[in-house]
């Protein structure tokens, strides 16, 4: 085992060697630098290996063989080993990335780089407080020097500012050390004790000064203007190194200091951290310069970790897991992103769209963003989970809320950036594919995934990356070079196969969802055979969503449920993002989804603290106020996914702008995830009161209002797919309403809606998508008269609208029948009025869909269009068959569920004897209805056919036009603003109040960010003032609090 001091020694030796080199031997000097860094990394790695595998003991190193304070004292423990490894590896790859700059600037630059890395190593390793100061000074000076590597002219000024502010900070640190020495008589961390500072006069001040100085090195808000200038103007490789290494090292220094300061200082660290986290994220929101944005993000992440450091009292065993996870995620992501920014020429974040066309780089970008936002399977996700559980467990709700709000804002700008990169027009300039830079980026990517695996292995909840569905989804990343139809086949076979292997494990409730996801999904995927080429990116996203859904219904504990939830959210986000104009809608989708996910996280965290039981039982055992909170949080979280009114504004755009085969997936299948969550929640918890309010009753109203307003908005929509999207809001409202009835039949109805909605919404979306594909527009008034050209699509829509509107004999009627039976035994009567009203309104928009698209006048330009492609039609025809079958024998699907529900709602089940289904109140015989209707219809049709057998078939303008004749189909097709009387009578109900509400919130956040940015004037004096103000404020709070 090589001693840790060799790390520092190696760096020093290399520096001296560089001094001996001739100025012209640059390549050799560079080689020495790389070797030194590599060697340093090797030592760290060796130690990490020793700690991890052989369970080695931490090694104390005393130079000169004497005890402190007379010698330098270093310690190599597991955290130190890991952090130095991180720092040295980042240093190594930065050096690799900096190859050109270093070769140009010569050995001095290389030496400074080595000094920087060494200093950071020193900060981590040292146990001596004065040495800490020395290493800090070294780091500061090295930073100043490395700034010169940048080609940006502002870099010099930024470095200068940095030096000035750092000197002020160093002064604080030095004074603090002097006072501490005065107070404690020692300079070694291990010999100082919190009591020393408390006992000695001025001890507290001494610690405060040291602490504040070290914290200031972490660039807390608002004392961080200088740091942002560095991030923005430094060479990206160095900015990455700076963001990773100095953050890691300084955080560890803060950690060491906090041990000295005792628990009293933890809240201070938390406070500074969380304020920084939120403020920096807020400031990043309006930011458009990529590096400055990354700078803000770095500041925010470090703030978050600082806040975590302040929570070490409650994190216990998970402390290193959480903090380490965040640092690891931050390191891999920030280094990677900074390095990527070096490849992109434009400094505007829109310019990142140039990455498109480089699948590996774009995958790296996506991974880095996921790392930063803490999505599974990355370490940040585990950390977020443990942190939330710990915070909720110890009642620190406000902190949890603040952290999650900050994280949501962060996700907002990061995903906006991602959206720009994936969707905006590619700029003309290509990226510079420097092989050493790409190597570094790929290393960061590999590190990110390695961390993901590592943290998964370390996690107490099992490794996310071991889940079969997720692995299946991820394997499509490797298969992406295959043609689409091969991947499609693999996907279908995989999903169906998984179902066949696993279907026996599901109870009837889950089985319904499993069938919809794992059988229904492949049916929709049939339509994907229509796509040509390779369809890069589609299958990984789609399969990720399906994997999430599959894991969701298989999940039995909170953690895996939440993992699945996040997976399906991310997968569907990328899926939705694929639409032509879907970028803003995908963004609003992911923000709402993550917001909902955070609510769910909070709820789970609250619930998980109660008992370590599996999810369902744990929820059942909740009582009292916690139960109310958990229920509320989870319900709102799940209702975000079902797009209940108020939380619905993401849905229309997201569903409408998605691709033809994606819309049915996200509408027909994905929405069910929210319903599934609600079902699990309500089955487990039943009715809950929240400060005296019956939440389920509120949900009943929300469901009813969603049904009404969703439907109303749909009837005023001109865009076919948006119409269907609004209709989904209404339908989900119905289902929510059914669940909230909290009786047997309400649930049967909700499940029936789940099945029906899947079938007919998928069918209608496919049909509308096929028509839109052929006509090149989604605006219904531009279509018309397509019945003869696209008869099969017409049949699908016809059957669909009969089913949706609940007209017998199709299956929608069953839903209505159960609905009536359900409400007869429900407690609340008023919300029914609203649902009564929304039923017929559904009829209106559906009729509009079929009329304006398929009936009426055919337009000139559409005269020659063909039926939708075979693969789009095929699933529709399957759905027609399914609807018919489900209409005749609803018992096939519902009977078992009905029995299953008996254990939860023993009252009011259905009787399935014979061909007639009877309830407590009425009866219904689907087979008889079908036969009777068909008999009447058939005989009348035959009669009319017989009489009119010689009817003259006429063309579209052969209509009575008040003795005139139509001139153009456009002016004859009555389609636009079809329900004008309705708008006149009830249009006031669909004013976009909700949209305005959320827009206002977004505006306020942006404005706050914009105002906040004015703090950073670019003037070093102001920055110094910020620092002083920061010190004063913290001091004020410290003494006051």
């Amino acid at each position: 085992m090589v001693s840790a001091i060799v790390i520092i020694a190696a760096a020093l030796a290399a520096e001296f060697m560089l001094g001996l080199f001739n100025e012209r031997w640059r390549a050799a000097a560079y080689g020495v630098t790389l070797f030194a860094l590599g060697f340093m990394a090797f030592i760290s790695a060796e130690w990490v290996w020793a700690f991890a595998v052989y369970d080695a003991q931490p090694a104390e190193i005393f130079t000169a063989g004497v005890q402190p304070p007379f010698a330098i004292n270093l310690r190599m423990g597991f955290p130190e080993a890991a952090l130095t490894l991180l720092i040295n590896l980042t240093g190594l790859f930065s050096a690799l990335y900096l190859r050109r700059a270093l070769l140009e600037k010569g050995r001095a630059a290389m030496a400074v780089l080595l000094v920087f890395v060494m200093a950071q190593n020193g900060i981590v390793l040292t146990r001596d407080i004065f040495n800490l100061f020395v290493f800090f000074e070294l780091a500061v000076i090295a930073t100043g020097g490395l700034m010169l590597l940048s080609e940006d002219e502002r870099a010099v000024a930024a470095g200068f500012k940095y030096l000035i502010v750092s000197q002020v900070i160093s002064a604080f640190l030095l004074i603090g050390i002097i006072f501490s020495y005065h107070a404690t008589g020692v300079l070694n961390f291990d010999l100082m004790r919190p009591e020393h500072f408390a006992a000695a006069q001025g001890g507290a001040i001494a610690f405060f000064l040291m602490f504040i100085a070290v914290v200031a090195e972490l660039k807390p808000f608002p004392a961080n203007g200088w740091a942002l200038d560095i991030y923005e103007s430094a060479h990206p490789a160095f900015a990455g190194l700076f963001s990773v290494a100095s953050a890691a090292a300084t955080l560890y220094a803060v950690d060491k200091l906090l041990v000295l300061g005792g628990p009293a200082w933890l809240p201070v660290a938390t406070g500074i951290g969380v304020v920084t986290f939120i403020a920096a994220n807020l400031l990043a929101l309006p930011q458009r310069n990529d590096r400055r944005l990354l700078g803000y993000s770095s500041v925010a992440q470090i703030g978050l970790i600082l806040a975590v450091l302040g929570q070490r009292d409650i994190l216990g065993d998970h402390y290193f897991f959480v903090a380490g996870g965040l640092i690891a995620a931050h390191a891999a992501a920030k280094a990677g992103l900074y390095w990527l920014s070096g490849l992109v020429a434009s400094r505007d974040i829109i310019g990142w769209s140039t990455l498109r066309g480089h699948p590996v780089l774009i995958f790296a970008f996506v991974s880095f963003i996921a790392l930063l936002t803490g999505l599974p399977p990355f370490p940040g996700f585990y950390a977020k989970w443990e942190l939330a559980v710990a915070l909720a467990g110890s009642g620190r709700y406000i902190l949890l809320a603040l952290i999650l709000i900050g994280a949501l804002i962060e996700a907002g700008y990061l995903f906006r950036w991602l959206g720009y990169a994936l969707k905006r027009d590619k700029p003309s300039e290509e990226i510079s594919c420097d092989p050493s830079a790409v190597t570094a980026i790929i290393a960061a990517l590999a590190a990110g995934w390695a961390f993901a695996y590592l943290w998964g292995d370390l996690s107490a909840h099992g490794n996310i990356l071991h889940a079969v569905p997720l692995l299946f989804a991820l394997s499509f990343l490797l298969l992406d070079w295959l043609p689409a139809w091969v991947k499609n086949t693999v996907a279908i076979v995989g999903m169906v196969g998984y179902f066949i292997l696993n279907y026996t494990d599901y109870d009837p409730l889950r089985l319904i969802f499993a069938v919809i996801i794992l059988i229904g999904g492949p049916v929709i995927l049939l339509a994907s055979y229509d796509a040509h080429g390779r369809r890069i990116g589609f299958y990984p996203s789609a399969m990720l969503m399906y994997a999430g859904l599959t894991q969701l219904i298989g999940a039995t504990d909170f953690f895996s449920f939440f993992v699945a939830w996040e997976l399906l959210t991310v997968g569907s986000y990328f899926l939705i993002l694929r639409g032509k104009h879907s970028e803003p809608h995908a963004l609003s989708y992911i923000i709402f989804s993550l917001g909902g996910a955070f609510l769910i996280l909070t709820g789970f965290a609250l619930a998980a603290t109660v008992s370590p039981l599996p999810m369902f039982e744990a929820l059942q055992h909740l009582t009292g106020e916690t139960a109310g909170w958990v229920f509320l949080l989870l319900a709102v979280g799940f209702m975000t996914k079902t797009a209940a009114i108020g939380l619905h504004i993401w849905l229309p755009g997201a569903h409408a702008e998605a691709e033809t085969d994606v819309s049915p997936m996200v509408s027909g299948i994905l929405l069910k995830a929210g319903l599934y969550g609600l079902m699990v929640l309500m089955l487990a918890m039943g009715k809950q009161r929240f400060y005296g309010i019956d939440i389920v009753h509120v949900m009943l109203w929300v469901g009813a209002l969603s049904a009404l307003l969703g439907n109303l908005m749909a009837i005023f929509e001109e865009d076919a797919k948006r119409l269907l999207a609004y209709s989904s809001i209404g339908q989900m409202g119905y289902a929510l309403f059914g669940l909230a009835l909290m009786n047997h039949l309400g649930w049967v109805m909700a499940l029936m809606f789940v099945i029906n909605h899947y079938i007919y919404k998928s069918m209608l979306f496919l049909s509308a998508g096929g028509v839109a594909k052929r006509t090149g527009t989604r605006l219904m008034y531009k279509m018309g008269g397509l019945i003869t050209l696209m008869p099969l699509s017409f049949i699908a829509v016809l059957i669909g609208i009969i089913a949706v509107s609940g007209v017998p004999p199709l299956s929608g009627f069953g839903g209505r029948w159960i609905f009536y039976n359900a409400i007869l035994s429900a407690e609340h009567r008023l919300p029914m009025v609203i649902t009564f009203f929304s039923g017929p309104i559904a009829f209106l928009y559906l009729f509009r869909l079929i009329h304006t698209v398929f009936l009426g006048q055919l337009k000139d330009e559409n005269r020659r269009i063909k039926e939708a492609p075979f693969w789009v039609i095929l699933p529709q025809m399957l759905y027609v068959g399914l609807l018919m079958a489900f209409a005749i024998v609803p018992g096939l699907a519902l009977r078992r569920v009905d029995t299953y529900l008996n254990q939860f709602f023993p009252e009011g089940g259905l009787n399935w004897e014979g061909i007639t289904i009877t309830s407590q109140f009425g009866y219904w015989s689907p087979v008889s209805i079908m036969i009777i209707v068909c008999a009447i219809f058939g005989s009348l049709f035959a009669w009319l056919m017989f009489i009119n057998r010689r009817a003259q078939k006429v063309k579209q303008f052969n209509i009575v036009f008040a003795a005139e004749r139509p001139y153009r189909p456009e002016t004859t097709h009555f389609a636009w603003n079809f329900f004008a009387p309705y708008r006149k009578a009830l249009g006031f109900l669909v004013q976009p109040f909700v949209t305005r509400f959320w827009e206002t919130i977004a505006d306020i956040l942006h404005t706050a960010g914009d105002i906040g940015r004015r703090l950073y004037t670019g003037n070093p004096q102001t920055y110094a003032l910020h620092f002083l103000a920061f010190v004063v404020i913290v001091y004020f709070f410290w003494t006051g609090g």
């Binding site: 330009e861 269009i865 078939k953 303008f957 052969n958 009575v960 005139e964 001139y967 189909p969």
Partner: protein, 213 residues
């Protein structure tokens, strides 16, 4: 001919251009056929009786005679009791009353409406204008003999005829129909070319298919 009726090049959503000929693509161009009566005489007699007792008039007024038709609905004359009623659309009407002078411009609309009625259908010429031009006998834009252009079943003379005369006309028409002589539609179909030639002689801007289904 209006621009909208001329042939035009149209680009489909798939980018392929093709020609649209409105008169051919948007209108059915079949010729009317002579429709034989029911095979069984009893059935045909029954239908003729029903047709006679259920005269649905197209609410279309060409000249001043329109004003004489209104009183028919009032209590004084009450045409409803004879099975007569007014329909707003030619699709549902069987009786076309040309109520007075008929300008060539209106003639075009009359022809279109007449052809949109379902056979058997009947035409009643009201007033001397429809018979020989009446007081408009030398006008440059009113026709003088309605039966040149449409098969007229019955004329009611007068300028204007009183509602009583109209009622008498209805009775006369009913008698004709009951006797199975109300075959104007078939006559129109049989002598289609002659009628068309007459119509086109006076209607100079013929911008519709020959038969308006």
């Amino acid at each position: 001919m209006k621009d909208e009726l001329k042939k035009r090049l149209v680009k489909g959503p798939d980018g392929v251009e093709f020609e649209v000929d409105p008169l051919r693509d948007y209108y059915c161009d079949a010729r009317p056929q002579v429709e034989p009566p029911a095979i069984s005489k009893i059935v045909e007699d029954f239908f003729n009786w029903a047709r006679a007792e259920s005269l649905w008039i197209l609410g279309f007024a060409t000249g001043c005679g329109a004003i004489e038709m209104r009183p028919l609905m009032t209590p004084r004359f009450d045409a409803y009791r004879f099975g007569v009623q007014w329909r707003p659309t030619p699709r549902q009407s069987n009786l076309f009353i040309i109520s007075g002078y008929l300008s060539t411009k209106t003639l075009k609309r009359v022809i279109r409406s007449y052809e949109q009625m379902q056979s058997p259908k009947y035409v009643m010429g009201l007033g001397s204008c429809t018979i020989n031009g009446g007081m408009y006998w030398d006008s440059y834009n009113t026709i003088k003999r309605l039966d040149d252009y449409l098969p007229v079943d019955v004329y009611v003379a007068g300028c204007m005829p009183r509602p009583e005369a109209l009622l008498a006309g209805f009775e006369e028409l009913k008698r004709i129909i009951r006797e199975g002589k109300g075959e104007g539609a078939n006559k129109y179909a049989a002598e289609f070319d002659r009628y068309k030639a007459n119509q086109k002689k006076v209607i100079h801007d013929w911008d519709m298919p020959d038969y308006n289904w």
